[in-house]
């Protein structure tokens, strides 16, 4: 019984220490690069990947926007966005294969393969492409997301202001 009590106390202390350390690290840590660079990473991924997808799908129209927003839980900010690529309707499997080939051949890394999606990443930026009937016949949804990072001082002011100013048009 004494051992159990000691063990529980140990558990409580360890859990508390880890949690406090974690929260402290979170509340005092910050991104190692300025938000403008994070933004550029995401913009570079989108502006390189989306034209490849457009070509693979023989797209007739593509619109992608992005902007800063707060992360889930209110800790940190993230540069993310998305849009729609319109293309002639076709065999979705073949179209997905063409998109996958175009992106991986260009050096984007593919993660776990998810049915009906092509999801790739580069420089901590994920980009997902999937057909979306909700957007109309032949429409493909594009979404991308950088890492959630915490910023302070002028950097924090920058991301907050950008969040309020709305989105940037990235493609076209």
């Amino acid at each position: 019984m004494a051992r159990v009590t000691a063990m529980r106390s140990t558990l409580a202390v360890l859990a508390l220490v880890v949690l406090v350390a974690g929260v402290t690290a979170c509340s005092t840590g910050s991104d190692e690069m300025p938000p403008q660079d994070r933004e550029k990473q995401a913009v570079d991924v989108v502006t390189e990947a989306v034209p490849l997808v457009e070509e693979a799908l023989r797209s007739t129209r593509a619109e992608v926007g992005g902007g800063w927003s707060s992360c889930p839980g209110g800790v940190g900010h993230v540069y993310s966005g998305g849009g729609t690529i319109s293309a002639p309707e076709g065999d979705a499997s073949a179209q997905l294969a063409a998109v996958r080939a175009a992106l991986t051949e260009a050096g984007f890394e593919e993660g776990t393969v998810v049915d009906g999606h092509v999801s790739v990443s580069r420089d901590e930026v994920s980009l997902d492409v999937a057909p979306s009937a909700a957007r109309g016949p032949g429409a493909w949804a594009v979404s991308f997301e950088g890492p959630c990072k915490r910023y302070g001082g002028d950097d924090e002011h920058y991301v907050q202001q950008q969040n309020l100013q709305g989105e940037d048009a990235l493609v076209p």
Binding site: G22, S27, S69, G83, T112, H117, A133, E145, G166
Partner: protein, 654 residues
């Protein structure tokens, strides 16, 4: 020569320039009218300053009274202006619908005309009488179309003239004074009192509201947008109009203060953040990422001062009053109204996935969808940016609610009333299919609401820290059989907290805790596959555990962070009523606390025991050939350290 007279091809009638987006004008006027109404109310309630006396007091009283009367006159004028615009926009909505019908008719008539021309071309003489008869009938229908089109144009013109006359009638202060003195002016105080009396009887509220005239509804939306926008049972479109005006009023007021050099207090800054977040949540439906979904956003709740400034907010994507499938998403810990935009984006993701899943069925299934992000309760949270000790003290007090159920129980009642309101306002007489999705502490809130009799068809509990007090089994939630679904990632630390005995059974915390872990096999819910997330160590509990594993249930596939979208796809099936497609994974057979126990044990092993062992082994390797006795002694010590650890830390929770 035989002649067959074919009517002339019908050109398209240009679309009306007044669109749904034109409603922004009404929002502007209502926001201005509300602001003026607030000022007039203030002026009426204040005479001369308390320390004035004699002639000065009398003069001040007169001045304030005169100001109140003038302001009220402006308010009355704006009220009538808003009504005129509202009636005009309503009329234009009808005219657009009539225009659509006329253009469909036009297309059909032109097609018939083309067909007749084809039949005439090269037709033998004996068919001429029949073709002439057909042409005569077609000419008659073309003439009817022209008459109807002319009538439609006259109606549009008449609507415009009526609006212009109404606006012209109140464009002078004297006319505003007359409008203010009008004995027939709506008594908004009496209307507000009646609405307050009806309280939470959402069916009665809905019937009463629908029985008001447009004049009365317009007046109440201007005088009390906060009441209209936040009362369950009032139709979603009207709540949205009232709340949108209130949001705009607040943003204009607070930004105006900033622009004029005033420094906002902390609570005013919070107020501004709440308003801006609600506006972002509504606006993002038309951002490039979502624009092609062509889905309308509705602000269903906006109370920026609730819960000490944490605020209340709810935004719907798709109209829940007409939707075939509605989902209410209830976020959890760390969420307040300043986070409604982020939660709204998750609701939009769910909206799109649900529509896509229905379209992917064989055959594709039609049906309209509405998803709602609802932050209508006091979620435990703290300001992560806060650094001042006093703020941190407040934050600690607030977040401490995470280990008690008080907020979840109060939130459960509010959630249940919100759902009742959705039932009352649905044009079909009740929601055809409504799903409530609770995430994190929101799952405890949702489960508490369900146990209290919430009128939902399906319930989803995600990353749950507990299913609330008194809920020991799925049957305690009162949902139809097979309609409670649970998603819990193995590496989501919040889902390790469930259990009826608290985290430390038999000790001080048994009175705390948030109830049974609904992911347990024995709980009896349907557990669905989710991305289990990535293992983490040390401070990774925040960056990976909380920020990624606990918050990724609504995400698209995310290879940079190693997540799939299994939870989102399954939730879409549940929301659309295709729950037969959900595969039951059976649930956990290991206690939720054991996950926490194993993780903490692993951390201790990793950070404490292993370094000791590594040190011993370094020493041993350094003396291995020279001092066999020392080497054997060190080996014994390594084994001893490992044994001591195993002894101290049994395989399972004791």
């Amino acid at each position: 020569m035989t002649t067959i007279v074919v009517p002339a091809w019908l050109p398209a009638e240009p679309e009306l320039q007044v669109t749904e987006a034109s409603g922004a004008v009404l929002t502007d006027v209502r926001a201005a009218a509300t602001a003026v109404s607030d000022v007039a109310g203030w002026a009426r309630a204040h005479g001369a300053p308390a320390d004035f006396s004699g002639d000065a007091a009398e003069a001040a009283d007169h001045a304030v009274t005169r100001f109140a009367a003038d302001t009220d006159a402006v308010g009355a004028a704006l009220e009538r202006g808003a009504l005129a615009i509202d009636e005009f926009l309503t009329a234009m909505r009808l005219r657009r619908s009539e225009h659509d019908e006329l253009m469909e008719r036009r297309q059909a008539l032109n097609a018939e005309r083309d067909d007749l021309l084809r039949r005439i071309d090269g037709a033998p003489e004996e068919q001429v009488p029949g073709l002439q008869a057909d042409a005569a009938q077609l000419r008659s229908r073309f003439a009817a179309y022209h008459r109807d089109l002319e009538t439609w144009r006259d109606r549009v013109d008449s609507d415009e003239q009526r609006c212009v006359r109404a606006l012209g009638a109140v464009d002078q202060l004297a006319e505003g004074v007359t409008a203010a003195a009008d004995r027939g002016r709506t008594d908004t105080a009496a209307l507000k009192a009646e609405l307050t009396r009806l309280g939470n009887d959402t069916d009665a509220v809905n019937a009463w509201w629908n029985g008001l005239s447009q004049v009365e509804r317009n007046a109440l939306m201007i005088s009390d947008p906060d009441v209209v926008g936040n009362t369950n049972g009032i139709p979603t479109g009207d709540r949205d109009e009232a709340n949108t005006s209130a949001v705009q009023r607040d943003i204009e007021y607070l930004l105006g203060r900033q622009t004029s050099g005033d420094e906002l207090s902390a609570s005013e800054q919070r107020w501004l953040e709440n308003a801006q977040s609600v506006q972002l949540a509504a606006d993002q439906a038309s951002h490039t990422k979502w624009a092609d979904l062509d889905v309308d956003a509705f602000v269903m709740a906006y109370q920026p001062h609730a819960f000490g400034g944490d605020g209340i907010a709810a935004v719907a994507y798709g109209d829940p009053d007409t939707a075939d499938h509605t989902a209410v998403y209830v976020p959890g810990i760390m969420q307040d109204a300043t986070q409604i935009d982020e939660n709204g984006s998750q609701a939009l993701n769910l909206y799109e996935e649900t529509v896509n899943q229905m379209a992917a069925e064989d055959p594709p299934r039609a049906g309209s969808v509405s998803t709602i992000a609802w932050i209508g309760y006091d979620s435990p949270n703290f300001d992560p940016e806060s650094m001042w000790p006093t703020d941190l003290g407040d934050s600690a007090g607030d977040v401490a609610h995470t280990v008690t159920e008080a907020n979840a129980q109060a939130g459960g009642i509010a959630l249940s009333q919100f759902v009742d309101g959705l039932d009352s306002t649905h044009t079909g007489g009740g929601q055809p299919h409504l799903t409530v999705i609770g995430h994190s502490y929101g799952s405890t809130t949702s489960a508490s609401a369900a146990a209290g009799g919430m009128d939902a068809d399906s319930l989803v509990l995600l990353g749950s820290p507990g299913a609330s007090e008194g809920v020991h089994h799925v049957s305690d939630l009162g949902l139809p059989a097979g309609q409670v679904f649970v998603g819990a990632a193995d590496h989501d630390p919040v889902s390790w907290l469930g259990g009826e005995d608290g985290v430390f059974p038999g000790t001080w915390d048994d009175g705390l805790g948030l109830g049974a872990d609904p992911a347990q096999h024995d709980f009896g819910a349907i557990n669905f596959a989710v991305d289990n997330g990535q293992e983490f160590h040390g401070t990774g509990i925040v960056s990976t555990g909380f920020m990624e594993n606990h918050t990724s249930y609504f995400d698209d596939p995310d290879p940079a962070r190693g997540h799939t979208n299994e939870a989102l796809v399954t939730m879409a099936d549940i929301v659309s009523g295709n729950s037969d497609a959900v595969v039951d994974t059976g649930g956990r057979t290991q206690e939720a606390h054991d996950y926490l126990y194993d993780w903490v044990g692993g951390e201790a092993q990793h950070h404490v025991v292993q370094p000791v062992v590594d040190t011993y082994e370094d020493v041993r390797d350094g003396v291995v050939d020279t001092y066999e006795g020392v080497r054997d002694g060190v080996d014994d010590a390594v084994d001893g350290a490992r044994d001591a650890w195993d002894d101290l830390w049994p395989d399972r929770w004791p």
